[in-house]
Amino acid sequence: MTVAVHGVGTSHFGRQPGRTLTDLAWDAVREALADAGTEDVDAVWVGTVFGAPGVAQRVLHALGITDVPVVTVENACASGTTAFLEAHESVRTGRYRRVLALGLEQMSTAFDGAITPEPTDAEGLSGLAMPALYAMAAHRYLETGAATLEQLAAVSVKNHAVAEHNDRAQYAGRYTVEQVLASRMIADPLTLLQCCPTSDGAAAAVLAPADGSPDEVLVRGLGFRSGSLWDHRSAHVWGYDLVAATAADAFAQAGTGPDDVDVFEVHDAFTVGEVATTEALGIVPPGDGGAAAAAGVTAVGGARPVNPSGGLLSRGHPLGATGLAQVAEVVWQLRGRAGGRQVEGARTGLVETMGGGVSGIDGNGCVVAVLAR
């Protein structure tokens, strides 16, 4: 059975401590259900990381969604796309007919700044905040000559600029490479404008069997893995091999490859994340990710557009909501309704989300989804 996305929706993304998770979820769910032309779903998968126990049912019953199975999944930054993947599988296997996938997170009321490292984790207790993990990937890229500081910064310039066309994004702006590099140092060599912000938001998708309706977007392939051991044998930076392996699964299922994809939404929690991911996904050759960003190859209007939404760097990164916001962006792109950030003629899109926080492995989880009209 081919499964389709029939509706998507999101809240605004940004610091919204004065709004409740129910408010944020309502924005996303109302839009997704209206987009799908339905009021009824047969089950709900919810992705969240820091939500309180029962957060899914607490939010859903307030929206009048009761008396159906509700499952909450936590998979770090890939929680939303994990909910999407499980919603897809439950439709594909015939377990449920119409399923809502919902991602939600309120970070601004939980953290003053970066996510607090997990004290039960070896590297978390050793002071490895997430920016530091990515910073060491960036340092490795610089030291091996695989990218330059200016190329890393170019990712931030690109994603903040395109976000001017996304009124749901937390940040947007016309920065120069020099301004990005001159912003406050977070973890060497990553500066503030190279790090995703603290965000609150929700995003949702309605999935059901494909029925030929004009706005539906088909799910062509999915990949889903947790990381292998990441240790002294690993030549690549953290997460690279996990993304590559997960993408290979998704491409095999879709019967396509990266060259068949017109638009990508990938996990750019930090600039180096987008650089490494464009290489791991096979969008550009290994070592070309930074140069491709600097040359505009991965910009909207370039040959291989990556993160037309502005990415996590600009749209924001409420962990559980991010994956479904990526799905929503690709759906809008494939329908040709992305406004000033539209990738012209996009027929096939890819979503990649990558979550971490457990040391010793290449990532807690990665999901890659290939969507098409």
């Binding site: 050793s126 030291e143 002294h232 010793g360």
Partner: protein
């Protein structure tokens, strides 16, 4: 069913011990595939084979490094961190002195066990 009893209490970080050859990380090595682990794993995380206690260090090289400049609970920024590949041993996350990231392949040496429980290294001059 018995829980693993090899763990050093509840601290999840690698444990540094003193030896005649200097400080060492007390971990395990697989007797089947030789894989080194910086932790008292109950079996080999690479091949699931049996493991025996093993000591790693004191020397190694920097795989990558950074300086954290944001507040982290219990720590005072800035502080340097490095992934260090111990010679013939595992990769460990270690604290380093100074406020500059260490260059790739910099030779380093484990420092004696830190009262705060971190693995720490110093550059070999």
């Amino acid at each position: 069913m018995t829980a693993p009893t090899t763990g050093p209490g509840t601290d999840p970080r690698p444990q540094v011990v003193g030896t005649d050859d200097g400080p060492a990380v007390a971990g395990v090595r697989c007797t089947a595939c030789g894989h080194p682990s910086a932790f008292p794993r109950p079996r080999c995380p690479a091949c699931r084979g049996p493991v025996v206690p093993a000591l790693f260090g004191p020397t190694g090289r920097v795989w990558s490094s950074t300086v954290v400049r944001i507040p982290v609970p219990g720590r005072t920024p800035p502080y340097a961190l490095a992934y260090v590949d111990l010679d013939d041993g595992p990769r460990v996350l270690a604290g380093a002195e100074g406020d500059a990231a260490l260059a790739m392949d910099t030779p380093v040496r484990l420092l004696p066990a830190d009262p705060a429980g971190d693995v720490r290294v110093a550059v070999v001059r």
